[in-house]
């Protein structure tokens, strides 16, 4: 999920590596062969994927925070059970992705430490607050909806472990979007106040969700290599358009208004949206969004508070190992 906005390749490293191996590698990619962990790969391919997959994993883990905020205040037991299951899924997605990233040679611990040190990015969308229950509906409907658009092409990514992780993630993501939309339907069929709450959430999330797809194509410098390597199969603008076209009728069904008065349908049937405020996107990515500091502080606290558990588990395993050695010697 959530990497479209962040992925940029390292470019080519033609000077160091064997040209013949590089050509063979590209030939395999061109025939849609999958690359597996022990195969030869250009250093820049490894680096690009390590960064993209780990950022994706960080996004899943940080993404648990805005929704976790509402678990104790969900309006019914049904909603609470569903939200709990969804947040647990996000954790699972993070773990599948860390496992995929590790196959490229960097340990999960190193990747997590980079994130905790503020040196690795995660999706900008999770730096926005969840102020009302309608935000939980909107996140499922729009944020997970956008993530699905982004993730389905990644199921065919050239790197085997990433593609396999994405297949698992996509299977689970559909429940997330549907539970979110169901919350929105319930609110929109409820009282005036409930419907107003749904509209307010849409107003706040719409533009940040469109930003999830990343900078416009003309300003994205690095996607050529990712496209050539079949890591990226659609451009940011293509995916964004697909998402907008799929979402407008859903908003109409809900009776909600997309907060873009300039939006209109063109002759081809595509919905044209107004200019996105890319300055806001840059600010949020640079650490100046509404919740950046909170998110990182929450992750650091969870990591530090869990340190004694990791230590105790390691010590216990070591004690058992020593005991087994002693027993074997008797």
């Amino acid at each position: 999920m959530y990497t479209q906005a962040l992925n940029s390749s390292e470019g080519e490293d033609r000077n160091i590596e064997d040209a013949a191996l590089s050509a063979q590698f590209q030939a395999r990619i061109d025939t849609d062969d999958r690359i597996e962990p022990n195969d030869w790969m250009p250093a820049a391919y490894r680096k690009t994927l390590t960064r993209q997959i780990s950022q994706h994993a960080h996004s899943e883990i940080v993404g648990m925070l805005p929704e976790g905020n509402w678990i104790t205040r969900a309006p019914s037991l049904r909603r609470k059970a569903a939200l709990l299951a969804k947040v647990q899924d996000e954790c699972g997605h993070g773990l599948y992705l860390y496992a995929a990233a590790e196959t490229l040679g960097t340990s999960r611990e190193e990747l997590v430490d980079l994130m905790l040190a503020g040196k690795a990015k995660y999706s900008s969308i999770f730096n926005y607050p969840t102020l009302t229950w309608a935000d939980i509906g909107t996140i499922g409907w729009l944020v997970d909806g956008a993530a699905i658009m982004n993730q389905i092409p990644l199921c065919r990514c050239s790197y085997g472990p990433y593609a396999r992780a994405m297949i698992r993630v996509c299977k689970e993501e559909s429940f997330h979007q549907r539970q979110g939309f169901e919350i929105m339907v319930t609110l929109c069929r409820g009282t005036e106040e409930q419907k107003a709450m749904a509209q307010d959430a849409l107003n706040r999330w719409w533009w940040p969700v469109l930003m999830m797809f990343g900078p416009p194509d003309q300003s994205s410098q690095h996607s050529d290599t990712s496209t050539k390597w079949k890591i990226k199969r659609f451009s940011n603008d293509e995916l964004r358009q697909k998402f907008v076209d799929a979402t407008v009728p859903q908003a109409q069904f809900l009776g909600l208004t997309i907060p873009d008065p300039g939006m209109k349908q063109n002759e081809a049937g595509n919905w044209e949206y107004s200019t996105i405020d890319w300055d806001e996107f840059k600010q949020v990515l640079a650490g100046n969004g509404p919740c950046n500091r909170d998110r990182l502080a929450a992750r650091r606290k969870a990591h530090e508070d869990g340190a004694w558990v990791r230590e105790a588990a390691m010590a216990y395993a070591e004690k058992r190992r020593q005991r087994a050695v002693l027993q074997a010697a008797e």
Binding site: N38, A85, D89, E110, V112, D113, M314, A317
Partner: protein, 95 residues
């Protein structure tokens, strides 16, 4: 301080009786008991399996993909190992 590395395990799941255990992914755990519990939570949240194996990743010996030519060539050149290599007259019917 860097976070200490916790051992890596490979997870295999039998989705239903009669099928073989299949590799589904990997996870980190300090011992086999925790690895099994983590495997249940990470890989079987929707009834994906009836049985789980966890194997320390460093216990696996893998063939080298760059030597796959040499490794698998003996099988490729022995077409007489396949049933279609042999001619059976049509009149005999399905065999």
């Amino acid at each position: 301080m860097a976070t200490p590395n916790i051992p890596l395990w490979e997870v295999f799941i039998r989705s239903r009786n009669g099928l073989a255990h299949k590799h589904v992914g990997s996870l980190h755990a300090t011992d086999a008991t925790l690895a099994l519990q983590a495997a249940r939570d990470i890989y079987t949240r929707r009834g994906e399996g009836l049985s789980i194996w966890v194997v320390p990743s460093n216990a696996i010996t893998a063939s080298d993909p760059s030597e796959k030519g040499m490794m698998f060539e003996p099988a490729e050149s022995k077409i007489y190992r396949h049933p279609t290599f042999y001619d059976v007259p049509d009149e005999v019917g399905h065999m």
